[in-house]
Amino acid sequence: MSRTIARNVRKTSPTPGKGAEPKLPRAPWRARLAGWRDQHFYSFFSSLGRLAARPWATILTVLVLGFALALPLLFFLVFDNARALSGGLREAREISAFLKPTLDAPAAAALAGELRQRADVAEVLVRTPEQGLAEFRQLSGFGEALDVLKTNPLPSVLVVTPRAQGDVDNPPLVAQLKSDARVDLVQYDAAWRRKLSEILHFAERMVAVIAALLALATLLVIGNTVRMDIQARSEEISVMQLIGASDGFVRRPFLYAGLWYGLLGGVFALLIVGTVEFALAAPLANLSESYGHRFTLHGVDAPSAFAVVLASALLGWLGAFVATARHLAAGMPQE
């Protein structure tokens, strides 16, 4: 190869492309692997050392990251719990028909029988005034007040489950029940349920948007921290580049530093979320108890916690990558 170049040496404008690049003897692959491993050890520990050398700056960065990551996590938890709570409601499609109080039990049963004959009715449940009173007593907590009543003021109720078909928001069954002389009041909440479903959908989207914005903030915080770190070390970087450090070698300690920031920030975010959960657990349990334990708080489970830490570490790495990219070009000859 050297001979080719020697022959070409008189050409003042050598054609670029065909690689006549300087070849230094390369070490065998086993030694190269060991060298590569040593470089990573070096980057790993030197990045940790850099963070430890400025504990306050590091802690401050980690705190900022922790809060930035904890906010979307908390939003998500609130949303997740709200969805679990509403889960039963969203599915329910029953029509409640409150019968005239004057109607006695056999008449109610007769109406139920009529309804069962219909093609668009899947199931009809008759709830007698006695059942209604018992349920009300249990759920409302006004048991003793009810004892004062001499007669049962509640009517019979038919809980009709329609077959899913046609206009779900406004089935003809509802209209017919409403016009029936024996029926006092028809309650059918499909439209309202759909609104709830849409509200939840909107909330879901909002949580996603806020999470994305805060993820971007995380990226910027780490990027900016690493950028300042790079500026403080620009002399060191240029020396390293002059003695033959590749972009990867220069970049690696910063990437590790970004990874550490992200990792620690993620762990701190989980701590914040855990603290919030802990602070809310007792009052929420009381609240839940008064509603007959229909609600339990879902926290962050282990896989999600792992995913959060992993994602924040990746964000840190990415932020550092972006921050280093611009600076590396400076140490290279201008083409």
Binding site: M1, S2, I5, N8, V9, R10, K11, T12, P14, P16, G17, K18, G19, A20, E21, P22, K23, L24, A27, A31, R32, A34, G35, W36, D38, Q39, Y42, E235, E236, V239, M240, Q241, L242, I243, G244, A245, S246, D247, F249, M332, P333, Q334, E335
Partner: protein
């Protein structure tokens, strides 16, 4: 080992730092580049170290046409060149040992091998006892010798030095220059830029004299064997 062929360098400002510069340095040869400040010494070294690219002509170092070294390969090409700086540019937050070990770490030399080679390099510059010291605790002469140890530790075929004695007194300067002369004897090509013409003459090595970016003299001082 180093060949300049009709090399010109014009900076973006329009200033011609080098024009029509041609010379050749053989393997194992030691050459001084002198000239007043602004004569183009530093630019010449920057072209060899791939810090700058020539605007005209061809530079060949280590049998490689530097114009064909793509950006991605610049670090690898630089590993074949040991660089010594006027202000030695040591990393102040690490020990002498770690400073000298850096080129080996960068080249991916295994840890066991690094220790041996760093101590060999420090021994060569007479600083074996200071390996655990911080650079700031050393005298400027010692700091420069650490810089030289760092330049030679990876055994590059070419060493370039930009005013390595610029901040040193004559006694220390002579010692440092003698050190460079030693490397030439073991087959390393050495190119030293220095404005200290008295010192350069005493060493009896080949001298290139630059003036306003042109080569005006290429001579070997008489009286002493090379």
């Amino acid at each position: 080992m180093i060949r300049f062929d009709k090399v010109g360098k014009r900076y973006a400002s329009g200033h011609d730092a080098l024009s029509d510069l041609s010379f050749e340095v053989a393997a194992g040869e030691m050459v001084f580049v002198t000239g007043h400040s602004g004569a183009g010494k530093s630019t010449l070294l920057k072209l060899i170290g791939l810090v700058e690219r020539p605007t005209r002509g061809q530079v060949v170092v280590n049998h490689a046409d530097l114009a064909r070294v793509r950006r991605r390969s610049v670090p690898h090409a630089r590993r074949g060149i040991g660089m010594v700086f006027q202000d030695h540019r040591l990393l102040t937050d690490r020990t002498v040992f770690d400073n000298v070990a850096l080129p080996l770490l960068i080249a991916g030399v295994a840890r066991e091998e690094i220790g041996k080679r760093v101590r060999a390099a420090l021994d060569k510059v007479g600083l074996l006892a200071k390996e655990k010291a911080a650079p700031v605790t050393l005298s400027s002469g010692e700091q420069q010798r650490v810089g030289i140890a760092r330049a030679i530790v990876a055994k590059p075929p070419v060493i370039i030095a930009d005013e390595p004695t610029g901040n040193l007194d004559p006694q220390l300067s002579a010692e440092i220059m003698a050190l460079f002369a030693e490397f030439g004897q073991v087959g390393t090509t050495v190119l030293v830029a220095s404005h200290d013409l008295m010192l350069v003459r005493r060493l009896g090595k080949r001298v290139l004299v630059l003036d306003h970016g042109r080569l005006i003299d290429d001579f070997r001082p008489q009286g002493k064997p090379a």
